[in-house]
């Protein structure tokens, strides 16, 4: 994820992006904002767009509470600056659900109780969605790797693992 950011950061287009309003797609809608190029995506999402489902916690990319999708890849939004994600497709927890109201991953977390205080949950669900989009039936090792950047202090992860298994089941049934 940092690689992506670094690439766009070095491109001349991105370096000049600050002179123009920041433009991206957020949850399927085009967004145009006059923000400085070094503004963190986390602050754009929470403060400028009022999407507070993305949470602020460690601000050093360790906990995953601020995880969003940028072009489908999970990114700690506290580590990404405006210029790095200009013109990209950004999805926050608020944009995960489909028209029916809940994404299968969200339904699975609800049913299995894969959350307690809920503060890590949006970031966790974003990471799980990204994983299952890429790997529909992950091995335990793949699951461990995909979620080891999302800290949860409440559940001990048992409920989260059960939720992911349940989500795989729901998605598979939905696709059958």
């Amino acid at each position: 994820m940092n690689d992506n950011g670094a690439k766009s950061g070095t491109s001349p287009e991105a370096a000049r992006a600050g002179e123009r309003p920041w433009e991206s797609t957020v949850n399927g809608r085009p967004v145009r904002l006059p923000v400085p190029p070094a503004k963190r995506l986390l602050d754009i999402v929470r403060d400028d767009l009022g999407l507070t489902g993305t949470k602020r916690s460690c601000e050093i990319g360790r906990c995953g509470a601020c995880m969003v999708l940028v072009d489908g890849a999970p990114v700690n939004s506290c580590l990404m600056m405006a210029y790095q994600c200009a013109g990209r497709d950004i999805v926050t927890i608020e944009g995960i659900a489909d028209e029916s109201g809940l994404h299968p991953v969200q339904r699975a977390f609800l049913e299995e109780g894969g959350y307690q205080c809920g503060y890590c949950t949006p970031g966790m669900i974003v990471s799980v969605k990204a994983l299952l989009d890429a790997v529909p039936d992950p091995s335990p090792e793949e699951l461990e790797e995909a979620l080891s950047g999302n800290l949860c202090r409440c559940t001990g992860y048992g409920g989260i693992i059960r939720s992911v298994r349940r989500a795989i089941e729901i998605i598979r049934r939905g696709n059958d």
Binding site: R46, L51, I60, L102, Q106, G113, Y119, T121, L147, G159
Partner: protein, 781 residues
Amino acid sequence: MLLNRRNSGDRWRIRPDGPGKVTGRLAYLTDLTAPGMLYGLVLRSPHPHARILSVHTEAARRLPGVAAVLTHRDVPGLNRFGIARQDQPVFCEDRVRYVGDAVAAVAAKTPELARRALALIEVAYEPLPTVDDPELALRPDAPRLHPEGNVLHTKTFRTGDTGPIFARCAHVVEETYVTPRQMHAYMETEGGLFVPGPEGGLTVYAPTQHGRMDRLQLARILALPEERIRVVSSPIGGSFGGKDELNVQPYGALLALATGRPVRIHNSRRESVRAGLKRHPMIIRMKTGTDEKGRILAHRVRIVADTGPYASLGAEVLNFATEHAVSAYRFGCVDAESVSVFTNNGMSGEFRGFGGNQAVFALEGQMDRLADAVGMDPWEFRRLNLKSADDPGPFGQPIAKTDGLAKVWAAVERSRLWRERKAAELSESSETGGAPVPGNCGTQAAVERPPWMKVGIGAAMVMHGAGLGFGLPDPSGGRLALRKDGKIEAAFGFEEFGQGLLATLEQMLIERFGFAAEDVRIVIGDTDAVPDSGSSTASRATSMMWRSLGLLERPFTEKLLRAAAEACGRPARQLGLGAGGIWDRESGERVLTYEALAGRLTEPIVCEAGTSYPVSDTDIVGAHYLYAYAAVAVKVEVDGLTGRVRVLDQFHAVAAGPVMNPQGYLGQIEGGSSMALGYALLEEAVMERGQYVTNNFDTYLIPTIADHAGPVEVMPIEDLPEGDEHGPRGVGEIGSVGLAPAIASAVRHATGVRINRLPIDPALLQEVLPVGETAVMRGER
């Protein structure tokens, strides 16, 4: 029967706060904003101990966009806070005693301006010697941190002179246990929104575990009547005891009142680490002796707790640690002496388990060491010395009788893990001609593992008190009402910080009264809207909701049915409460919806109940009356090359009365055990000369999903003795206690290395040099 979704059937429910949490729609108090709000920041001391020579705020005040800069001169009321003892300065006057001490606070139009304003405040300090070792702080020549000296509190419990008894013991074990400064590491750092009201009032939206206590504390500081302050305290992104004490509230409140504008504060993680509470580091010395057969005759305990610069709940935590250092077993003669000491380290305070975690780690370490000394199986050794159902509590006080200890003991004895350990030992002793060899648990597994990977199984017992204990007011209560819109409103002065309180309350209402979830509206965490329920701490809320609803059931049901009878013209005795409204029990039809009933009322039906947490008939402050019991077995794998310990398999038996909410119960035990795993293997907020070395999650490591391996089985033991009136005991804390000593025990079983310090240092478990076929562990003597 194991607790899981399948075995819970319909009782496994979707939490009422779930949809908001999985969609991100739930607004936490740190997500709130208000038009025209300012951003607050606090200037904290860079020194662990210093005299303040001067504070100049003029430059900061002159900065455009800065609305207020406050110091101790701007506190209208008491410039101190603390739940039990008000000794912590809101703003320091002439001296700072830790790196979180506040000196000034600012409110500005943007976070950037607030930061710049902080940098413009000039404080001149004269550093003073740092007292960073609690044992050195007790020396007569140590710098005095408070006029009364460096002792916050002592606790003594003695039933006689252990000296002569040790002299005639067949086996005596003496050990010093050292426990770390554990951080709560709630994912949501402290913060909130502070909104001034008309006529000098204030609404505080900030997490706490006891809204009324915050209101009382803020009233003192602001010199405002409590009625002018409204505290909205829920929902919370994790607390674990860490947000019970005031944190940012005084600053937000003072800034909002000073500027007349809403003020928002949200701590960075670094500031949260620096200013926030931690679990008390303790040094626990125990000397315990038995007769030849293994019966404990004497138990001596000395605890030194590092409470940091101010009291908070340090005294209460020490009382609890002392009580639990002499719990669960019959000790013969007990001599316990504990002291909680002021230092210039970080603030210590309330943390899930409340001193029991430290004490039980030490106590269970003693049990394992004594069993070895006597030559007994460690679990059998515990059974021999276990308290019986008729025994008094740890301090000799009367307690509610249950046979929880015997039952959780038996559950582990029969568990898959313990049987595996026994089978392995049997096969080994036949292979080696008697002497058990550590580290080859499970013949099958031993074959598959390289020789430097050792496996062991260990177990530990826990007896955990709930409620605030004797000597502290512990009132509670709740209210039920049928409101105009037809909702059954349940109001309690509790908070939801993830434990599942809302779900538990909803489930109790459904199961006790027959309501449907849609019939019910729950109101918590708002001092303007709820009755006094006491704090959401000490594993007490579930008990108190159960008790309050028990008191409310009859009067509320009768009132509803009487009103319904009048409305529908059928006799009240023929009617009953049910899903969606009032039902005719004979015809089986619903005769009136709650909405229709509410519409017929001239005034709402309201019932309120007041109660309080049951206390022991004793005069020992802090002694408990209700206990929950747990036994934990765990299997670990120790890598002799890296010294790392991996938890493979856990079994938890918990005797805490009936399970009110299966998902919540399971979550508390699983989640609590994860905290204990971190405590045992990873977590320590390291301080050097009064400064935090670990400032964020890059160096302070909490368990990740990669640390969670293998099954976690939870077996609730629900039965209580006939006639028990106390119902469910809370399980919010007990899950966080037993796994750490069980891991230490399993590591010993795997490697032969005894653990007396947490978190376990991998260096102790690295094999030094292979000698022949057997690796020699460094700690093995």
